[in-house]
Symmetry: C2
Subunit: 342 residues, 2 copies
DNA sequence: GAATCATGGACGTAAATTGTCCCGGTGCTA
DNA sequence: TAGCACCGGGACAATTTACGTCCATGATTC
């Protein structure tokens, strides 16, 4: 059943919205017994006119009966409500989850796609598609957009398509090179995104983790300093979120540092920083690319991560408190609210 | 699956249409390989602009890839088409049936509701609802509408609701009283419809089947002659269709006449007349109420009947050739096309 | 019998959809 | 290699649709 809905959603993205809206109205009429248009409009907090259009529709469909005294659900409507219940329950689940997470962390927007990225590659693709859609929607004209690496971000890049609104933008990597495979490097992602959308890009050919002196000497270099300034002027960043220990291993962080991270209770990693359970940043070190203070000043910080295993990590990063938008999947979202209540 | 589609058809009929539209476009792109917007618009016979909006959407959804040379289906689009096929098949089935029957008999409109009235009362209700909707749509201002009796017509009456467009109309019975139960009398139906819609009505308190002399003497009566004149001025008739033998029995036609009907190959009954397989009228006799020549001159003749068992009868009546609109159900429609091909 | 609630009609404005035309680019063909 | 036919996409007016707002009228209740 869920399968059918997911298929239809591709052809009718607003299917769920309309269905939910009409269901809500019908359900309200059911529980209210006999009710008037204005009263109903208030309790659904919508306008009278807009409700009226829906009521006319429901009447036309024979799902409600309208008399001078008000409207009432019909036998057909009652039956429809019963059979639609399992669908809507599922439908509402995600929306409720979204709102719950959104309000708890004070985010601007939360998007949850159904499924579990850990279990199904299809869900990860969906995550990428959702990420691309949000990016396209939020971007301003001629903006600089910083992106990180990772497999989820690669999916986002894959699903971006040419849009006029992205033509004048610049894509830049948020950080320098990290010990990961080429396809998942921030540099690669930034260039892919730019090519896909017809935007421009700039790269940062510098390793991210550096000693103090190496850092200082690199910053002397004009061209490097210039690109770093450019990156730090970005007003928008799109980044993945990872589990701290997994990321440390993948990035070949040295044994000693890893041990420190573990002792400090590192849970999550995002744009090169490690976070503990409370959202505190561990292990601050001089870095090329975006610094944490740059991120704090951004207009749009968009985090993307999915999979049950990442739930806890996502909570850590959200607790840090500077995210604006979260895009995740059902499994991770459930894990998130689980950690909130415990 | 069928369940969920039926729900959606009730709750989101408009979205189902756009789903069909988008499926058609996508499917066309699939079979065309690489194709341009204008070419596609012609072969789908729609306008360029309207197709363009859909193409933009499909692109946005990543279902097609657009290049300078034209557009082509994407992997995701191909996959979607495959998985959506059963849904659309179901969705399309009825529309195709409608068009096939419509064109074969040269009707103005055919409406098919899903299901089988013989098997499920719900389908009969749907039939009534569809009938009421068509009636509401076709009616002109201050028109006289003749209606017959029968359980299907009773459902139509039940589903009529007050509409401005019907306020000034008159409902009249198409024929006199027949040996049926009160609720299913044409008189009852006409008055119910009038009460439901706020229209006016007139009744015909005369038995329909009469001997020649009784007929002549009744026509002497001024008030009866006047109402009959009134009825015959109707420009619109809504009638049920029945199986000849079933109707003969229900109307308590005498044994001898029944036998004649059987020998003549009577298959169907409509507004009091019996039809053979070819649509010829059998058993003409003087009648109060509408005569067959009145019906031939009408602006809108609307036949309503459903259920697998009535398929053959419907074909007979349609072959007579003066119907304008047919409202039936899936089971009867399938039976109809079955009789066409054999 | 007055007050309060209801529906349904009317209508102007805002917003979306659609028709129409054009431009610059691409690939095929002669 | 030049011309041609067709491509996507931009622009904009015209049209349609959606929506906010207000009012007429009828039913029900107190």
């Amino acid at each position: 059943m869920k399968e059918i809905l997911n298929i239809q959603k591709q052809l009718l993205p607003d299917l769920m919205d309309t269905m939910k809206k009409r269901y809500t109205i019908l359900h309200h009429i059911l529980v209210s017994g006999m009710v008037g248009r204005r009263t109903l409009a208030v309790s659904l907090n919508t306008t009278e006119r807009i409700l009226r259009a829906e009521v006319d529709f429901l009447k036309e469909q024979g799902l409600i009966e309208v008399e001078a005294a008000g409207m009432r659900i019909s036998a057909a409507g009652r039956q429809l409500l019963e059979s639609i219940e399992p669908i809507v329950k599922d439908l509402f689940g995600l929306t409720e989850l979204e709102e719950r997470i959104r309000s708890h962390f004070g985010l601007k927007q939360v998007v949850i796609v159904p499924g579990d990225s850990d279990a199904s590659p299809h869900t990860k693709k969906e995550l990428g598609r959702a990420g691309a859609a949000v990016l396209r929607k939020l971007v301003a004209e001629d903006e600089t957009i910083a992106v990180t690496g990772g497999s989820t971000m690669a999916e986002v890049a894959y699903h971006l398509a040419a849009t006029t609104s992205l033509k004048g933008c610049w894509f830049v990597p948020a950080r320098g090179g990290l010990g990961e495979s080429l396809e998942l490097q921030a540099n690669t992602i930034a260039s892919t995104m730019a090519k896909k959308t017809g935007a421009r890009y700039r790269l940062l050919h510098v390793p991210d983790h550096l000693g103090e002196e190496a850092y200082q000497s690199l910053m002397q270099d004009d061209s490097i300093a210039e690109i770093i300034q450019f990156i730090r002027r970005a007003r928008m960043v799109v980044h993945g979120i990872g589990e701290a220990m997994v990321m440390a291993r993948r990035r070949k962080v040295d044994r000693e540092t890893t041990e420190i991270l573990r002792q400090d209770g590192a849970l999550a990693e995002a744009f090169g920083y490690y976070f503990d359970r409370q959202g505190n940043i561990l292990h601050k070190m001089p870095t090329v690319g975006l610094r944490i203070e740059d991120i704090h000043q951004m207009d749009a910080v968009i985090g993307i991560a999915g999979g049950k295993s990442k739930g806890e990590a996502i909570v850590s990063v959200l607790r840090h408190g500077h995210e604006d938008v979260l895009i995740t999947d059902e499994a991770a979202a459930l894990e998130i609210v689980h950690h909130l209540s415990s």
